[in-house]
Symmetry: C2
Subunit: 282 residues, 2 copies
């Protein structure tokens, strides 16, 4: 229903609900969600408790509104960030930056959805859907990065194939050095690719590989995605690593440690976005 066709009564109702939510956010910030009191909000608004309950039937209903508002806002923020750049890596970096900015902007909002659960309160199913949408933003970007990586590898292979054949060895030492340099470069590229694969869950990373195999068969969190095993692991890891830094930062754990969390966040973003950076650099 658009704003225009709403009755004055309906508009007034929405307005009061918004006012209640604003005061509820204040309470979440100052006393915590678990101490949220509808009666206290009613008092501040000059209403009776029962009158307020006509707008929100229970504490849990009010918390659900706050949680969904927060999730929708976060989802919108991340989508907008991802829609800007076209390169997958730039999109992931933009999402990472937007995520931290969003969290620092209102720590209590970040912590309401990702912090200590409110005892006795069960989150709404809609939150799971919005979280899945957010995850699909990450999965699409990682899938895009993989395609770009494959295209790059293919182009590189074609370039190698077009390279002039090596001259047959004529003088011992000189040729040795040349051949060594040439095959060395190829082997280095191969090693880089292997290590790139390793840091993406290939050989040498048993637990990463085990996780990818497991995720391949447990995709309920991304129902309609054809994302690769590696993309699933990387999207999940992107989330947990960035959350690890953000949640400790907004909870004040870095305060007094004397370093700048922005640099830690940048390093973790880099590691999450460019796990095979070294491959491209060699």
């Amino acid at each position: 229903m658009s704003e225009a066709v709403r009755s004055p009564r309906e508009r007034y109702r929405r307005q009061v609900r918004e006012e209640i939510k604003t005061l509820a956010w204040e309470q979440v910030a100052t006393t915590g969600a678990s101490a949220l009191s509808l009666n206290a909000i009613a008092k501040r608004m000059g209403m009776s408790g029962p009158a307020l309950y006509r707008y929100f039937g229970s504490r849990d209903e009010l918390i659900t509104e706050l949680v969904l508002d927060a999730y929708r806002d976060l989802s919108g923020t991340c989508r907008t960030a991802a829609d800007g750049p076209t390169a997958p890596e730039a999109r992931l970096s933009a999402v990472a930056t937007a995520l931290r900015t969003w969290a620092l902007d209102a720590p209590h909002r970040y912590l309401l959805i990702f912090g200590t659960p409110v005892p006795g309160y069960a989150g709404p199913p809609e939150a799971t859907e919005i979280a899945a949408e957010l995850m699909s933003v990450l999965l699409n970007a990682f899938a895009g990065e993989e395609s770009a990586g494959e295209a790059g590898a293919k182009a590189s292979a074609e370039k190698n194939a077009k390279a002039p054949p090596e001259a047959p060895p004529e003088t011992g030492a000189e040729t040795d050095a040349e051949t060594g340099a040439e095959t060395g470069a190829k082997a280095e590229a191969k090693a880089g690719a292997q290590i790139g694969a390793a840091s993406d869950g290939g050989s040498g990373w048993d637990a990463a590989r085990a996780l990818e195999s497991h995720l391949a068969g447990h995709r309920t969190w991304v129902p309609d995605s054809g994302a690769s095993e590696a993309a699933l692991r990387r999207a999940l890891t992107f989330w947990t690593r960035l959350h690890g830094v953000i949640s400790l930062e907004v909870a004040g754990h870095f305060t007094g440690m004397g370093f700048d969390p922005a640099l830690l966040y940048a390093a973790e973003t880099e590691a999450a976005v460019h796990p095979a950076q070294a491959t491209r650099d060699t």
Copy 2:
């Protein structure tokens, strides 16, 4: 003061305080720390509110006791885990396992110290000291891993130096293949070392390098440590990554996603403990 020399009155006081704390932990789990009520505890113990305040002067004093008990228990658990194995990597893995077990054993205890801060409550300075001790367990292990890595690299270099010189090429194709394989292996090792360095903050990882430089000059969180820049970054990252997984797990965010968080945790432990795994495997 040892248990033996305590007066009956003092023993009784301790006993009551322990009973209050047990009930307080129950409240933290069921209603949340921010809704902690000393009067509710007094009622359950059959005491008057004012009588209970003779044991804990305020809600904050009680929370501080819980926070410090939790930190001390976590610190003891991690130290015990680290004291077992002698190899640095095994020590780090043991600490990681102990950390998750400790968190899953009592999620509300983990979340009291690492979750949403209790509004209006400022953590005690002693917690910072205990956190610094915990960090030193990690730093020592990472420093040990570096020493082992250097010793390994030295041994490897000596082995290479002792390897017989390559035979001069005789027949074109065959020799080419052989030389290629030999120098390829060396180049691969070199590439591996470079990538190992890169994942430890060397070239190719600008943000990681920037973080390490920054941490080198911002060590107030580890006052008396001669830890390398890389060890500082890795210890910090070990903490934030594992916290990222644990905190989302204990807050129930993986519930309904359908995968086993233990595998995700194992993969993140592996990545935090063996960032240069691929180097050693090549």
